[in-house]
Symmetry: C2
Subunit: 224 residues, 2 copies
């Protein structure tokens, strides 16, 4: 407690050095080279010690996950501050993600594999990821709230979560996208966003409104 930083006990230092070592190796050599033994070596600890702090390699990867999330939140500030048109705001936020995630694309395939297992803490639907998920949905809430979009109340409340689902779909496409600079994913965003906008504006048509209500009801039903 004499230390100004309450969290820099020996244990906390060890934990951080393991994370740092993992980051370095993930960046330099990709997923396959970053074995638990290599990470432990790089951090100057034993492999057993790494497991004392991170109960699996997946939990270690989670730090990586959080880092991308934080970088996206930061990169999304520019479009959120600079535009009030719904399409511009949504496109800006989605493209910001593609920009931020670009360095991790090669790594992402392996990462994604682990995230896809339902029982994995890395799953975007898991309890462990709820903080990151809520943050991402909150980002989309700002996309909607700061825009000129006019919607029925029920839909407007659900829209951020739906946009997050859209983003998950784009991530799925992105993971499979082998084009240079993930240009095809950027094209997908460019094409998709105006369509979403037009679909949302159509929801005010009398014949469409009933279907929208059903969809909102469906969402409520499938939520845990």
């Amino acid at each position: 407690m004499t230390d100004t930083s309450a969290r820099s006990s020996k244990a906390e230092q060890t934990r951080q050095s393991i994370i740092d070592a993992a980051m370095r190796l993930f960046r330099s050599g990709g997923y396959d080279q970053a074995t638990m033994r290599a990470i432990a070596d790089e951090a100057g600890v034993s492999v057993g010690n790494a497991y004392y702090y991170f109960s699996s390699k997946e939990h270690l990867i989670q730090a990586y996950y959080d880092q991308i999330q934080a970088a996206h939140a930061e990169a999304a500030e520019a479009p959120l501050a600079g535009a009030d048109g719904f399409t511009d705001r949504l496109r800006g936020v989605l493209l910001a993600w593609v920009d931020v995630a670009e360095p991790y694309h090669e790594f992402a395939g392996k990462f994604f594999k682990n995230a896809a297992e339902p029982s994995s803490p890395l799953s975007p639907f898991s309890e462990d990821s709820s903080a990151a998920r809520e943050a991402a949905i909150e980002l989309h809430r700002r996309v909607v709230d700061g825009s000129d979009l006019k919607l029925a109340k029920g839909l407007r409340e659900e829209l951020p979560e739906l946009l997050w689902l859209l983003q998950m779909g784009i991530v799925l496409f992105w993971v499979h996208d082998t084009s240079t600079g993930q240009q095809r994913t950027r094209d997908l965003v460019d094409q998709t966003v105006p369509i979403i906008d037009r679909m949302l504006r159509l929801t005010r048509l009398p014949g469409v409104r009933g279907v929208v209500d059903d969809i909102v009801g469906l969402i409520h039903m499938i939520r845990p």
Copy 2:
């Protein structure tokens, strides 16, 4: 060549016995217990021999995949033969999948994990899976063609692939569904199908048609 069955050479027998052994172990003990060593033992061959016929464990699992696919195709015949309403046909085919897949639900999480990696042959988008994917899309083409649905030509041609995507989404929900008998997935199907139907019928509205054309254009763009 003296044998009546041209495909029952020694090699073919070995190959089949490995598949059979894998099936038995997957069924009885799940994914984790079915190690390559256990499979080889059960088949009465060496582990190296199993790799002579299947270049990885994933390729061995592919046989499992194909089996579910075939069972679904068979189970889907009843609803396809017995109904001409689009909703009934689609719901019948989707629920047939849930029925067929139910025994594999516990196994599916691990299976799904591998399938999610883009480079995996098990990925539903991969080259190795194209045959199964085409078969599944063909099933949905029959759902559409045999129904009373009236649609613009462009949309009608793309619809089977879109319905396959819908099915992938339902599979994603199903994998995460821990309710008994996957009842929540069945509820999801029951609720979703009429909404799809209503949405499709809305595409004939003048204001909606333009958006539909954009969506069809988008699909053409993102296809490899």
